[in-house]
Symmetry: D2
Subunit: 151 residues, 4 copies
Amino acid sequence: MSFTTTRKVRFEHCDPAGIVFYPRYFEMLNACIEDWFDERLGHSFGAIHVDGGFAVPTARCEVRFTAPSRIGDPLALSLRPIRLGRSSLDLEIDITSGEEARLHAAFTLVHVAQATGRPVGWPEPLRDAITRDIGPSAVATDPQGDASHGT
Amino acid sequence: MSFTTTRKVRFEHCDPAGIVFYPRYFEMLNACIEDWFDERLGHSFGAIHVDGGFAVPTARCEVRFTAPSRIGDPLALSLRPIRLGRSSLDLEIDITSGEEARLHAAFTLVHVAQATGRPVGWPEPLRDAITRDIGPSAVATDPQGDASHGT
Amino acid sequence: MSFTTTRKVRFEHCDPAGIVFYPRYFEMLNACIEDWFDERLGHSFGAIHVDGGFAVPTARCEVRFTAPSRIGDPLALSLRPIRLGRSSLDLEIDITSGEEARLHAAFTLVHVAQATGRPVGWPEPLRDAITRDIGPSAVATDPQGDASHGT
Amino acid sequence: MSFTTTRKVRFEHCDPAGIVFYPRYFEMLNACIEDWFDERLGHSFGAIHVDGGFAVPTARCEVRFTAPSRIGDPLALSLRPIRLGRSSLDLEIDITSGEEARLHAAFTLVHVAQATGRPVGWPEPLRDAITRDIGPSAVATDPQGDASHGT
């Protein structure tokens, strides 16, 4: 199920060409993922990182930028979880302003232990919450299914 | 020909898990590209953007993160231009710390006019400088060769 | 009259000590000032900077940090304009979380022409809007009154 | 004794008005302080924060911005420790470009335990290193001398 947050392009996001400096988009994308964990899944980054000793680093991302964003533009970020592995998660985020697409992003996240940096299977409550949101058909049931990104 | 810059991981780059927060990597990657334009090609972002009225936005990037970086780690960023189109440029950057790979990034940049946001062919001196650095074999001589990313 | 915006402390704001890295506070403070111009005064930074050719740089700021903020903390930023000069503006912002003060900031902004970087008197509609919000008693009527920060 | 680092103003630091967005200065200022701890004092932020369980948050800062900085400008940051308290430190940093002053910053840092967030006296080796750099005359020998900022 899609999860949407909104942002307004601010002065702080824009470069001397007057458009969003793309590293700022990654802060917006990360904030959207953080909000999805907190508000949709019920597991905040604070609980995962600070209390739990785990982390959810990005293993891979691919972004296509289709049109520039300017100061004052209202942006909508729509996140869709795509595929759940043992310790990985593929998700996609589209950023649009009104009818216009601004970027399409595909992420692979991995659930790791902070102490070792090694992948650790999603804990049951978090796995269940993601599964509910993603729909069961996209959950990898075959261990080989996870092999594509080694997690 | 490879172009290398170095960075030290600072406090400002790190998140509560004690590792580099990945949007900060994009600032480092962009700075490496900016230095390559300035120091290797002899065309600074200041001249291109502020004086020239052009811009070099990122049309696409794909990054694979292979190991985390921690505060104090020395990083080397090595940029290689890969393929020059009429108004586009593919390049790759590897970040390593000592012998360990930290990330591999592939970028497609596009040369655009700020006023219109439309792609504009690389100006001759910049095209020549990129060609010298990339080696002539990777320069697209066939217009169709540019079609893959529409620029 | 006080103007208040709210923020949640996110992962992106926090450092390896798990608390807000203070340069991130300055982004929040600037965003609060930007929202005040846009929503309270009716003059967006986009209109001022991009369309108007003016800018509102910070000439001075003083911040006292009274307690740390942690991931997930809800923050309230309350801005009060204090004193209006010919081309300057003093304002204060307090950041609190619940009952707890987190920081107190005092800013002096200056209205300048981008082309010259020189101070330029506030345009009438913006001066009127600030005056209404600040209350007329705090508006400098004596040119000498502006001398303290030379603007 | 003064400690100087250099920076070049990059694209990433600049706003739509083409000048350094001031929150980016605070990242530069913090990096200068971090380098001073590491290179001059021999105590890295990594050792202090990650290994030691301490932190050196900013309790107060005051900055006067005297001239804007533009993309490509070479900047010099010169740090001078001013006064050492039991758990506090006052220092000043000037940023210049060539002969032109860009900003003057005054900071008060506090040495705290991460677990409690409470001030903790500087450890002996760090105190000695700061004392050597600051010169003994500016070290507070009277406990009341620390009262001005409560640390």
